[in-house]
Symmetry: C2
Subunit: 256 residues, 2 copies
Amino acid sequence: MSNPFIRKLERFGLLSEADKEILLSVTTKVRRVGAQQDLISEGDPTDGVHLIQKGFACRYKVLPEGARSIMAYLVPGDLCDLHVAVLGRMDHSIATLSACEVITLSREVIEEITVNYPAINRALWWSVLVDEAILREWLVSMGRRSAEQRIAHLLCELLVRLQAVGLAVDNSYDLPITQADLADTTGLSTVHTNRVLQELRRHELIVFKNRSVNILDIERLKARAQFAPNYLHLEPKRPNGRSQSRDGYGGMIPPI
Amino acid sequence: MSNPFIRKLERFGLLSEADKEILLSVTTKVRRVGAQQDLISEGDPTDGVHLIQKGFACRYKVLPEGARSIMAYLVPGDLCDLHVAVLGRMDHSIATLSACEVITLSREVIEEITVNYPAINRALWWSVLVDEAILREWLVSMGRRSAEQRIAHLLCELLVRLQAVGLAVDNSYDLPITQADLADTTGLSTVHTNRVLQELRRHELIVFKNRSVNILDIERLKARAQFAPNYLHLEPKRPNGRSQSRDGYGGMIPPI
DNA sequence: CGGCATTTTGACAATCGTCAATCAGTGTGG
DNA sequence: CCACACTGATTGACGATTGTCAAAATGCCG
């Protein structure tokens, strides 16, 4: 069973068979979307929550002069807009980077799950908070890391995230995005992005060809990027699997 | 009653008298902390949640070579570490920028509030999500705005946030931080930060003296910074105050 | 009046951006 | 099978923004 969504949530807390069943049952209706399509636009009201099943999407904003800023990558297993369900209005847009398979979870489904399946609810909120942690790390990259470190760091992060959902083997993974996308993610120009990638290739750290990344020397790449994966909060599940809730702060997690 | 915490939460949803009472009752024991003190350090486990009552604090990380990156400002009314209560471990540190008054809410208090006061619980999660939105906007600034725009944007944001808790009058507010702090926030060097501030002063947009910001022409400053406050989600409260929960996605917000 | 943190300056260098071609890969229609 | 068109990658020349270093000026506090 290679459902990336379930696979991801399992890393954030043990799920029961019933949990997995309900998750499977609500993630059957897949919609195919081409590349470069908006899934949700800034200002849109909420009409359900989108789940990426296959492909890459991103959160982004476009500034008045046309510059684009990509603030997050959404990979298989990621929910795009759980927060909108709470805040009520999008303050940014979400678009596919590659062709994607997307599942829309209706408002009712989300409520059903979060109210009646506390373990899933916890895992969902955990994932929201991890997204926030990723955002913080990206901010550090933008503020205090060189262009090369930024790109290297991002490639390390994607490796770990994709491994977590079984989409990376042998330190290689599909990265179906253009250098221009990478540039808008790292705050660089496309030209400079290109040169940095060449530099990384010259040092035999990575190869990024055919929309696929191959990391040749992960240890050296991590070192160069100062990559420490703790912010992804993917440590092994806690040993004392006290079923659901009420361990620690379990009780204070609200249904969405 | 000038409790910034209550004032802030009220902007995110109507609170009943009982809500306000419980909030007041748990925010009495204030601890005074000097400037430049760590409130929580990376890796720390959770031992309650910290609330800034007075003064400025920040989230930050320090990179191996010593560079510091400030990822958030915590102003009066802000909770520092609600997420740690869920994630269990800090992936960054929090320190005071100025002398502060801090309140520690114990694990028990948080659980009591979030389980039994759904309106407060909702407002708390709302504030977590707004923090995330701020992070996204900062990322945009770092990636695609010039040094001048970054600083101008930050000053606009702080005006709005401080106005929301009654700490700004006449487009002026206390900003008890140094230019070095500002530099670590915007990803610039202190030298360049200084020059940009002079530039803004020369254009008669702001004065930043004596740890106090005076915005001389807010409209012009906003225009220059491309500041649009929608990401702060401070719009007027929804008119149909259907008491608690179950309006929209109210039901899916978990107690923390 | 020191002593220390912070701000300000100047000279210079490095990183990174812009502009404008060129090259390469892919897909299409003839 | 090839010309053509299109998107994306790559290059070179040049310029702008921003960083570094080191010193001087200013402000604050005991």
